[in-house]
Symmetry: C2
Subunit: 308 residues, 2 copies
């Protein structure tokens, strides 16, 4: 089986949306990526850090999804990273209420020996130096390195972000971040500039408005599935990244045609994530549900026009 190395936070989230609120629940980019990628035939490992307050049942949950947690450091006496946020009525924007870095502040990622040679690396949103440090530990160049990042690092660690960008094949960011990073408003132009900065594939996430994949002169677009209820957007972008990198790992094919499929798988999995709070929907998601919704995705987007 091919290997996927995941780096990203494993955390507590407390979330408030117009539909309700949660106490501290399982969250973190690494968690969502791992749960999503577990829908593919692969071996995965998470490199992350938690505190002593992190429940064993959450660790057992990750293990039950065949995620190697050797690289999940548990800091004695430490507290787990905690984020709390409140979504606005349209769910498209949110306020961060609390960010307690805790053990994340001193996180030194250690890649497990058996993942120093891996097929794909999914660098979840973290300080660019942490992302770089993971790449430094690999003994062989992976087939594909995917980087997720956010505006926060563009504001406070831009040189480091630019360095790690030179070392990756794919970057996933949202539309506003693409504009900020490139200084271009039109996403076509923004993607072209970002390709010059390193990653030859640029994925621009537009939330409920779907995702674009750019590579040279090629563009592909996958919509978000229109849903009756969007309950909680937390983790949707990471679930997308997990589906994208998971599918690539399984299929071992980095052609543009296959990246298109990866975008569709990522969008499909993300459509489930938002239906319940936190990881709830992803934890119990069945293979049959995933396949049925892929069928809906095809119906949503595929048409048949003969060109003259």
């Amino acid at each position: 089986m091919n290997k996927l190395l995941i780096v990203g936070t494993v955390a507590f989230d407390a979330i408030e949306t117009p539909f309700g609120k949660t106490d501290k629940i399982l969250g973190g980019a690494g968690t969502f990526i791992g749960l999503s990628a577990s829908h593919f035939n692969l071996q995965s490992a998470i490199v992350s850090v938690v505190g002593e307050d992190f429940p064993q049942e959450y660790i057992d949950l990750l293990k039950s999804k065949n995620i190697d947690v050797t690289g999940l450091e548990v800091v004695k006496g430490g507290k787990t990273f905690f984020w709390s946020g409140k979504y606005h009525n349209d769910l498209n924007s949110r306020d961060t209420l609390v960010t307690e870095l805790n053990v994340l502040a001193d996180f030194k990622p250690v890649v497990p020996e058996n993942f120093k040679k891996t097929d794909v690396v999914m660098l979840g949103n973290l300080h660019p130096l942490v992302q770089s440090s993971v790449l430094d530990q690999l003994t062989e160049k992976p087939k594909l390195v995917v980087l997720d990042t956010m505006n926060f690092w563009m504001d406070c660690a831009l040189p480091e972000l630019k360095e790690v960008m030179k070392r990756v094949d794919v970057i996933t960011i949202n539309d506003e971040e693409a504009r900020q990073l490139s200084g271009e408003y039109a996403l076509v132009k923004a993607a072209a500039k970002i390709q010059e900065m390193g990653p030859k594939y640029v994925v621009i996430k537009k939330g409920e408005h779907g995702a674009l994949l750019f590579h040279d002169a090629h563009v592909f677009f996958a919509p978000a599935l229109p849903l009756e209820e969007v309950f909680d957007p937390t983790g949707a972008g990471d679930t997308f990244a997990g589906g994208f990198s998971g599918f690539i790992t399984q299929s071992e094919n980095i052609s543009f045609e296959n990246m298109k499929r990866a975008i569709v798988h990522g969008s499909n999995l993300a459509s489930f994530c938002v239906e319940k709070f936190g990881t709830e929907r992803m934890v119990n998601l069945t293979k049959e549900e995933v396949q049925n919704r892929l069928q809906q995705f095809k119906a949503l987007t595929q048409f048949d026009i003969e060109l003259t």
Copy 2:
């Protein structure tokens, strides 16, 4: 050849965008619909009204596109409807600077004799009573009636809008309008409610974020083509409607599969409209350009995933 009856304004527009501004140029929903529909093999007629100040060269332009202008009333001594607007930097919102109804204030549409029996009717955005009056004049039920409308009529002529909605097959509105009309935020739910109000097909236009087609449990989505430059969004929605109704008229097929194609043709034509001010791009658009971009549309959206 099948017949398409178009009702909509023929007007002067003065437009300001971040990229420049125009004097009074040719505009109006009927104009954009007509130019767009002229890319299909059909007979079309515009029912509208202009003043004596309307240049003969604009009328000749419509004629040159094989649009029947018998139903285009020229009011002696009257002034043509004039709209002026200024777009904000992101081109997604605009301020109306001037609206002079002029001859439009007393517009009584008269359907030409040879279009009282027509295959398709495209009711462009106008007072719902004007739209109803056109349907009243038809001697035979058309195969398909498409209605475009806007929030203005929801605010000031809702009962009349609801009446005309009962008489149409397809409605095209934007996302905010769909929410206003239905009282539902999620577009899936909004579309379901709007279907109960009359039109069995609901097209929700999301501007740069594409368009959705709803019918019973079916949903189809077409993105807007990502463009390097969007110059002027004026008329894009009408161009979409013209492509949609024009293709249906030509193909004489109102199955859901064919409506999908119509959505793609509409989106494809609208992608040209925004590249220059007003009607400029549409006036000179060649068949080859349209076909080439349809190819781009396929590449943008089509993928190949085998379901297990």
